[in-house]
Structure formats: C-alpha cells, structure tokens
Amino acid sequence: MSVTLVVGTPKGAAILQSDDRKSWREDFVLRGWPVTASVRDDSGRVYVAVNSPNYGVAIFTSEDFREWRQLPSAPRYRPEDRGNPEHHRIVSQMDFGGVLKEGGRFVDQIWTLHFAHGTLYAGVSEAGIFTSRDRGESWQPVDGFNEHPTRSSWVPGFGGLGAHTILTDAEDPERVWVGVSAAGFFRSDDGGRTWTPKNAGVNGDTGQCVHSVTHDPRNASTLYRQEHRGVHRSDDGGDTWTVIEDGLPVTELSDGHRCSFGFPSVMDRKSGNVFVVPLDGDNYRFPRDGKLAVYRTSNGRPWEPKTKGLPDNCFTAVLRGSMAADQLEPGGIYFGTASGTVFGSADCGESWTAIATGLPRITHVEAYAR
C-alpha cells in the first residue's frame, strides 16, 4: 500500500510518496509551470494540468510521477467563440493582459481534470468543459454546456469564471455534474447534450458561487456542496438542497448572510465521512482566530472539529482544489495551505501531521493509492 500525492503550486508540483503514510519522500517536478489539476485514468496513467500566463495551458502525463511527457493537444476554444469581458478583465490583471483579446474566449486555466467511463474531462476557465476519448491526445468542447442558454448570466468570481468541479455517476455514464464559479451547479442526464441548473434551495437558478462539491460516484445522487453561502446537501442528484451546518462555525459574510464559508469538500468513500475546512467568512478567509480545524460529518450527524496536530496560529487559507482522500482503509485525508504546508491524516481525520512544508502557495492536492 503506497500513496502518492500530487501537490500543485504556481512553481511546479511536489510529489510526496509514502509506503506507510508516516514517512514521506518528496520530489518537485514540472518546475516553472503552475500546476492546477491532476487525475489518474483506469490504466494508472496520471495527467497533470499546467498553465502559464506566458505560455498558456497544457497537460503533461506520466506513468511513474518521474518522467513527464506533454500531450500534443489541450482544451482550446474556437477562434469564433465569444468571451466574457468581465472574466477577461479579472484574469488579465494577473497575466499582463496576455489573454485579453477583443471579444475572444480563451482557455486560461484548467481547474479540474476528471476521468470516468473511458472519458477524460477538463473543466476550464473561461468557464467550459472539454472531453477526450483518446487519453488526452485530442479534446472536444462540450457545446451543450459551453453555449448554455444561461451563459450570459454567468458572472466571474474573484478567481475568474471557472468550471472547477466535474462529477460523474459510476452506474450511469450519461449523468454528469459541473460546478462553475459563479454560475452555479449543473447536471446533464444525456451525456452532456443538455444541462439543467441544480441550485434549488441555494439561491436562485444560476449565479451561485459554488466552491466545491463532493460525493461517492457509486451513490452519486447524495451530494455535499461547499458554497460561498454555506454548506449544503442534496439527496436527489442536486434537484433540491438543504443547509447542513449543525456543528460548523458560522460567520457573517460581507453581505450580512450568516453561514459556514470555506472552499474544499472531500469524501472518504469507505466510511462516508465528509470533510470541510471552514474559514472566517469571505472578508478574512483564514481560520477563525487562526485555529486551523478540519470538520467531519457522516450520515447526517453534526459536524465535529478535528484539530489534533493542527496549528492554532494559522492565518492562511485552504483553497478549493487543495484537499483529497486516498480512499484507503482507514481513510487518509490530505490538504495543503496557501502558505505551503501539506497536512495529512492516516486515521480519517482524528490526528494530523505536517508532511511537507516550505512549498509555494498550494492550489491543488490529489491522492493516488496503489
């Protein structure tokens, strides 16, 4: 039993490997490339997304986490696709105007990679999804989503207009969910041809700032959603949502709404435990009073704080894609902070250890067990 963590940062990816989940070996690969997402396919091949404000978006692949080959193709919009000016304005502030072109739509980041039923999915900003049926050698836009009738109402969040969450159903290859900041959560029941907003009980049809959604693909219709405006659960595939914040710290957002704010959400599928990392609202975006705490719930029970081994002077954030579960028994949970520390738990959150420090800002963590 070994676990490999891919830890994405703006300067490359840390590769952390362990045979016992206690001692970890560390390498740093894809140096100079911002690493934003990763996934493993059913053959064991790993794909890592990179983006550069100078050199654009690409995907590297590896069989062993050591030797990396860039794929010859990557998700790209067509020259005629029209873009969102507000998204351009936000991302161009971060990249010297490099993608700002009159009216065009550009893939400036891959926010998530997903693999299911023989298909690779990429969720990107400016928001859209692409699929590949040939292991990433070529990519096709999912026009039913990318040209959704509500697109004109989508507004970018602070990080731009990005499709950052893709979920699938292990039993039904036609069913796919996508989360977009700040357009909300969508579901397709016909393999991506048509999409319906699934935000009832959150706040209107579209325009929500969904931060992350997690589930077990084998029980796909039970979904946990960390929204800008709190933590929600759905038991009907997203048709309806209910706030589940019993036990979570609740704070006041900038608009006065009180809820539990945070970014990542992760499920340990064997136990059914779900994990979130609350932050002190959208103004501060660090743990309340600096006391870093992971909260855990299972089967509708109140959330419990899990703090053993975590610092109480931590004024940083845990970002959207920066938490993962290894799906071993007992479940290993891992997360990285915006100040470059990776914490790991080999006992499903009961205790935590800093397993890597001194990294750049961490924007992605994924766990691959063998």
């Binding site: 100078n54 919009y77 105007g97």
Partner: protein, 94 residues
C-alpha cells in the same frame, strides 16, 4: 547551427516540453514565420507559442541579434538564415 536556418533558443520551462532540448532550428522570413514552422513540426510546443485564436502569445518576447521584439511585431520582423532568436517571456517577481 545550420547555415540555412534560424537558431531558436528556448526558455527553461519550454525545454521540458521538448524533452530537455535547449534550442531548435527553424526556417522562415519573419519571427512569426519561424515560430509557425516550429509549431507545425512540434504541436506540443505550438500550444505555448500561439493562443486559442492562433495569434502569437502576447507575453512572449524575442531577442533577435540584440534587438527586443514583442509579439505584436513578430509578423513583420525579418530574420535571415544563421540568425539567432532567443525566446523569453514577461517576467514578474515572486
């Protein structure tokens, strides 16, 4: 260096795309012409030289025989066989 081609030196991050190669040889009469030939020959590299609309990426800068050439001028900036192009990019702190 080959007498009939332009010598193109890659920045370190793009060498990873080319299996560690630090430089390439390309033919063309302008900076953009040379880069398009390389993009055609090496599609993975081409992703980094041209954006979704097919234009040279705006943050790439080229040093040509001591002159700094920005992306807007790639299409009109002439090069000759035997010249050297050094590709680099806009830099930022941190």
């Amino acid at each position: 260096m080959t007498g009939g081609s332009v010598h193109v030196r890659l920045p370190p991050v793009l060498r990873a795309v080319m299996g560690g190669r630090a430089s390439l040889e390309g033919a063309g009469e302008t900076v953009e012409g040379v880069l398009r030939v390389l993009a055609s020959e090496y599609p993975a590299l081409g992703l980094h030289l041209f954006d979704d609309a097919g234009n040279p990426r705006r943050n790439i800068i080229c040093l040509h025989e001591g002159s700094l050439v920005r992306a807007n001028d790639f299409s009109s900036w002439g090069v000759r066989p035997g010249d050297e192009l050094i590709l680099t990019n806009a830099l930022a702190g941190g």
